[in-house]
């Protein structure tokens, strides 16, 4: 009960901090919107592209790449914005599991919100070609969960190792590639409106990766935070 209580309080604190400054949210939202707009303008240079055969594939892959970079930017901040003395204060009042758990839950919330907004903006600019919207929406939510769990732990490691952005991308990309491969396959299935049962295997793999990453994060973070 203690852990849940601590996690809940830290989670509320994260939301409150974000609500006051709205820095991460607005920054990443602006990033997403401007990227989508750049893509929109670039695609408009070749008229009639939305009727060509490759349009659906480009649509899907482009969306995931935008979400990937947006989430790296959003989540990399989660440990870097904390000052050293404030971290020290958390450690005296809360258990390490509560800290990482609250960060993960907060990032899941942030990323879900951001990717839903990104999807809406994306749909506004690009012709909608989704065959199974509910399933596509589900894959976007699953994707933002997986990105959050993976990137939170990696950003904790990177922040301990000198806080640079290069290290964050070097460490996270090999880990995120399997996730994004499965996600693109899953959402391509939803886009083509395939039979849903064909994709249950992919959802299973994603959930399994999430559970593995979450379990290892909870096990390893207590060793990471002690300096």
């Amino acid at each position: 009960m203690n852990l849940i209580n601590q996690t809940w309080h830290l989670f509320k604190k994260e939301i409150l901090l974000e609500w006051r400054s709205k820095y991460a949210f607005n920054g990443v939202l602006l990033y997403v919107v401007s990227t989508v707009f750049i893509c929109y303008i670039s695609f408009n240079l070749t008229p009639g592209f939305e009727h060509s055969g490759g349009y659906k594939i480009v649509w899907n892959v482009l969306f995931w790449i935008i979400i990937l970079f947006a989430s790296v930017n959003a989540i990399a901040k989660s440990f870097m914005q904390e000052s050293k003395s404030r971290l020290l204060y958390y450690y005296t009042i809360a258990s390490p599991q509560a800290i990482i758990l609250s960060k993960i839950i907060y990032n899941i919330l942030l990323m879900s919100l951001l990717s839903i907004l990104a999807l809406i903006v994306y749909l506004l600019f690009f012709t909608n070609t989704i065959g199974d919207p509910i399933f596509y929406f589900l894959s976007v939510l699953l994707g933002s969960c997986s990105f959050s769990t993976v990137f939170t732990m990696i950003s904790a490691i990177a922040s301990k190792a000198g806080n640079n952005g290069t290290l964050m991308s070097i460490l996270s990309f090999p880990v995120i590639i399997p996730v994004i491969l499965v996600l693109i396959r899953l959402s391509k299935g939803a886009m083509d409106g395939l039979e849903r049962s064909l994709n249950y295997g992919n959802i299973g793999v994603l959930c399994a990766i999430n559970v593995i990453v979450l379990a290892t994060s909870l096990l390893l973070f207590p060793y990471l935070w002690r300096d």
Binding site: I157, G162, L167, P178
Partner: protein
């Protein structure tokens, strides 16, 4: 740790690996379309991955041990196991690529198995980069141990689970039968299992030698 100074398993490793040179190249193999004699690559390609997996498991074991005890030696063992594992990783990739040239037609054909093996290679390169980025020894040991434990399950998912779910040409993936199903008759097993064991021991041997060299260097540099 006494195990690494004993001789019997090193002798066994040499005997086993030498025996597979003869049994693997001379024994009867089933005649199959496309594969023909390249099926013998099973004795030399799969053991490389087995050897890699062995040293990586040992490395994770020592990373866990480092986190619980904080002894510098455990960190040295973990990093040397990863270095040795990367050597066998490259050998496994190269033997696989040579085999692919004769059966699939290209050294690198973008097969899911090849691609995820390459990504997993990046995962362990990132481990080495992470080590180089931290100067303080204890911090480096701790953070890299954490990353090592974190990376291992991802590597398993990448190499052994994901390719099985897609259309891979690799035996054992994408609905293709593994050799174990019905090609691996009793004649092949005589060559295959000793090769697996022998190469795993060879990998361990290389790792222990590298570890012992590092240990000597570490003791020389220590301040008494």
């Amino acid at each position: 740790m006494k195990f690494i100074y004993q001789t019997w398993w090193k002798v066994l490793a040499v005997i086993l690996v030498f025996s597979t040179f003869f049994t693997g190249l001379l024994f009867h193999v089933p005649t199959l379309p496309v594969l023909h004699e390249t099926i013998r690559n099973l004795y030399f390609h799969v053991p490389m991955w087995m050897a890699m997996l062995t040293v990586f498991v040992v490395s994770v074991f020592y990373s866990v041990k480092y986190l619980s005890t904080g002894k510098e030696e455990h960190d040295l063992a973990a990093v040397e196991c990863v270095n040795t594992g990367l050597l066998f990783y490259s050998l496994g990739l190269v033997t696989g690529m040579i085999w692919a040239k004769y059966t699939w037609g290209e050294f690198w054909s973008g097969d899911p198995k090849q691609n995820s093996a390459a990504i997993a290679f990046l995962l362990y390169c990132a481990y080495l980069v992470l080590r180089n980025s931290i100067d303080e020894e204890q911090k480096r040991a701790k953070i890299s141990a954490i990353y090592n434990i974190f990376a291992f399950p991802i590597m398993i998912v990448l190499i052994f689970i994901l390719p099985r779910m897609t259309d891979s040409l690799h035996p054992g993936s994408g609905g293709n039968p593994a050799f174990g199903k019905y090609d691996l008759d009793n004649g092949m097993k005589i060559a295959f299992y000793p090769a697996m064991l022998g190469w795993s021991f060879i990998a361990l041997w290389i790792a222990t030698i590298r570890y012992r060299i590092r240990l000597i260097e570490y003791k020389k540099n220590a301040i008494n």
